[in-house]
Symmetry: none
Subunit: 544 residues, 2 copies
């Protein structure tokens, strides 16, 4: 079978921005463009020139890309010519080689939402797409509500597509705008559209995730013959989101029958950066990455069940549908009270700790983990705390420093403007290399506002650690999660802290106490100890 090319059309910057709470700045749009171009998509839809200042500014500064930069707009309005429609003019004047125009194909929308005649709408499509072709643009027609329209009035919906086809559109994109069409129906309708004379080579698919079927619907359209897929990074988009390209790309490249039949513009090497691309976008949006995300989530290759974990030790293909390294992700064998010794050994091996099978330390460690989990700890996600604990049980954890005492104070009172303000202050006393060091810190952000006691403690603790100071200088606290849980018979506070350093490492630690400040301090200590472990071992390595 000859391989065919599928084209990826990214709309993160346009439809992705319809996500509730998402509003990209122009620099962010430029950054995402660069990410998409490195990844290898074929089209980057940059926005709607003229619709808002950010999109206009973006097109004014749009960088050179391998991908085809695309401006989005709508077909001309009724009662004026394409050349005289100022909204359309702003889109064409953005100067991109490719232009995508959305238009109606559902009779109900033409009469209800636009309030114009059915023939007028067909004429608008034809004239607008012709206008693009006359202006030497690669023309794309986005057929809004196509599937609902086809179900209501197939003749009219097809007539709209044919108008775009006759006008010379390179692509006709079938949109499931409301997200309610199921994959089998998409397959049937795309098949019928091709039978009606519109070649699969010019058909695209645009789905939404309102029934969790956006990926399946896109694949169904490809199965039926469509050759362009529209989607967004991390499935951003209006309501429940668009088809997630981060899921579709590895599915097309790694899974049958797609792997054997189709080529896309993403190379296997670019694919190994997929996890990073996904997390970088979350970083830009200041979102916590979705752990359960297919392929790229932190849990996507996490094996918690005891039976799974022991089989994975024998052969990873027993419980993995692909090798996580292909998408730049990692296997995780979390600790939990369902885990057995084999799980534990695997976890230890991941942390670079070798313990022989049958070593009595394993049983001690498992008991310690179970006893702590009963008190409210969890080591599923707090892998750095697990490593610190394991090394303590094995007698292999250096005491870099000792905390003698700390004190944190939160005070709330009126300031000189008679406004209530709070101030947090922390004092930490540590002993490093036999020497006592006192540090004190306030907790203020750049605007002079109080960030609270945990922040103050973290700053004071990291202020003076003597010879270790340099090793922790690039470390920062990136997330902080609190939950009240059951520790034995009483409620305790569990704090999980995520830290990051300049080398791009990210690690999680846990602390538990009835006192939230204590719990946080415990997690902070583990975070610093883990970082020191990495830094001091790395420094020693060449000499070993």
């Amino acid at each position: 079978m000859t391989r065919e090319r599928l084209y990826l059309y990214d709309t993160t910057l346009r439809d992705g921005q319809q996500t509730q709470g998402v509003q990209f700045s122009t620099p962010e749009k430029l950054q995402i463009t660069e990410m998409l171009d490195r990844l290898g998509v074929d089209y980057i839809e940059g926005g709607w020139p003229g619709a808002n200042p950010t999109d206009s500014a973006f097109f004014a500064e749009a960088p050179e890309t391998k991908a085809k930069m695309t401006a989005f707009g709508m077909t001309k309005r009724a009662g004026r010519s394409a050349a005289n429609d100022d909204v359309l003019a702003a889109v064409v004047n953005a100067g991109t080689g490719t232009v995508c125009l959305v238009g109606k194909t559902h009779d109900f929308h033409v009469t209800t939402a636009l309030g114009i005649g059915l023939d007028d709408n067909v004429e608008n499509i034809q004239a607008s797409l012709s206008h693009l072709v006359e202006n030497k643009r690669e023309a794309i027609f986005d057929a809004e509500h196509f599937f609902d329209g086809y179900k209501a009035n197939p003749d009219y919906a097809l007539r709209c597509l044919k108008a775009a086809q006759q006008a010379g559109a390179r692509w006709i994109v079938l949109c499931d705008t409301n997200g309610g069409t199921l994959p089998t129906e998409i397959f049937r309708i795309v098949t019928e559209v091709i039978e009606a004379g519109i070649a699969g080579e010019i058909l695209g698919i645009h789905t939404h995730n309102d029934t969790a079927n956006a990926v399946a619907g896109s694949l169904a359209a490809v199965d039926a013959g469509a050759r362009q897929i529209q989607g967004t990074l991390n499935g951003l988009g209006e309501r429940c989101g668009n088809a997630n390209l981060v899921t579709l790309i590895p599915t097309l490249m790694l899974k049958e029958p797609y792997r054997s039949r189709y080529d896309i513009g993403v190379t296997p090497e670019a694919l190994t950066a997929l996890t990073q691309v996904s997390r970088q976008l979350d970083d830009i949006l200041n979102r916590v990455p979705t752990k359960q995300a297919p392929f790229v989530g932190a849990s996507a290759f996490a094996h918690k069940a005891g039976l799974h974990a022991s089989a994975i030790l024998k052969d990873p293909t027993t419980y993995e549908h692909i090798d996580p390294a292909l998408v730049g992700n990692e296997r995780v064998i979390p600790m939990s009270n369902q885990a057995g010794q084999s799980n534990l050994r695997r976890r230890l091996a991941d942390a670079g700790i070798r313990v022989e099978q049958g070593d009595p330390a394993l049983a001690r460690m498992l008991d310690e983990v179970k006893e702590r989990e009963a008190r409210g700890y969890t080591y599923d996600s707090a892998q750095a705390s697990f490593e610190v604990l394991a090394r303590q049980v094995l007698g292999d954890m250096p005491e870099f420093f000792e905390v003698k005492r700390y004190r944190v104070t939160v005070e709330r009172r009126k300031n000189k403007y008679n406004k209530m303000v709070s101030l947090s202050e922390a004092v930490v006393v540590v002993k490093v290399d036999g020497e006592k060091r006192l540090s004190v810190s306030e907790s203020l952000d750049e605007a002079g506002s109080d960030r609270g006691p945990v922040n103050a403690l973290s700053t004071a603790l990291a202020k003076d650690l003597g010879q270790y100071q340099e090793a922790i200088a690039d470390m920062r606290l990136v997330d902080f999660k609190v939950r009240i849980t059951q520790g034995g018979t009483e409620a305790v506070t569990r704090v999980i802290i995520d830290s990051e350093d300049g080398a791009g490492r990210r690690w999680s630690t846990v602390g538990v106490s009835p006192n939230i400040v204590d719990a946080s301090f415990e997690a902070l200590l583990d975070a610093i100890n883990w970082k020191l472990l990495r830094e001091t071992r790395a420094a020693k390595a060449p000499a070993e």
Copy 2:
């Protein structure tokens, strides 16, 4: 066409617990069981009796349910009889009417993971299922790795299924354990299994979401003839999760062709509680609900694009695939506060506050609520804080007392036994009836252990409120929830406090701040003010 019955099998309590970071307590399992039973699933898989203390405790206390309570376990091991396998015995002895046993059907797993002969495995399946039938249990066979097994060695995989069938299994569940099988392949293989002589009426489907196709895969199996669907609430589960019943249930009930062809055990009335069920589970897990979740997410019917929002005003079906009320969700149209005001009046009426339609205070209040929600507040559950806020906006909230300042200190150091202990102390200065009152309190439980800064503050604040002291004497803090959330551009802490009094009232209040102590203090203040409102109005009432 005659309608057929589809059966829903929930495994939230078993496979759902394989989610990284999820560990249900026995009371939580009981609460979820009640939720599932009200929803109307057919089977509730409660866990693996004997595998861990929580699951064993759950089955010991398992409540009466309309759904069939099911114990999960594995087929007997080789080299012993079903009656003499202690692991199997623990499962059968849980005393449930239905038992589900997982077994291998992939030759590679039999030889690699189990390390036994292919015939031995078939014999284990046959003997284990027969053992269930002999013990008058409804027997379910969970065919692990069935799809991968069938692709590798169809004859062997089918032989395993037939062993279960001949032993009298009511259901044979085809599991895509690694989550890598795409929907079209699931459709083909289920079709072939039925052609091989295993009736669709005894076939179930169990998918995982590793390619975001768990829902589509389940639907494909139903299309091919399977009649039982396994899944979890909110798609919890190992790695990327199981098929999400919260998505599947409305899809089966509301979307064609399923709506016309099949019945399930969920009533249209129970369906209207679906959004609540989903969020209640997130509450139990202390997770932020996924906004983009199909059907039940807060964004699932949010119309951000300007074109969409204006069309929605003309006719909601223009941009909605179903009516959100059918699943208990709501339409969200930013910019339109028409719906907002009638909502608001309903909530005020709930709090006993009457405001006439069109009163300008409504618009002011809506602005205030929106502005606070943007800063991280939530009034969905914190109804007492909502009432306090509403009365403040209306100028109807007495100032019972004024907090001049407070200070809380947490100190951690060695005690006289050389053990690290912490101590929290709070000072609160209030003005009541023109008189300044200073209170100080430590935070120690009966055993002399520190309970943390929030507890110390709460005790100090409630220590001396002059004439109001008696009114708050019977009040106590019963729950305390902390969540890190987004407040504008930065992370803030949201604290929700549940309080209770001697009259059996229970009320919730909220506080938000970057400083967790401040946020807690704000929620505490609201709690006391609400209680004083109730007490002083009640005292006045007879005289009015």
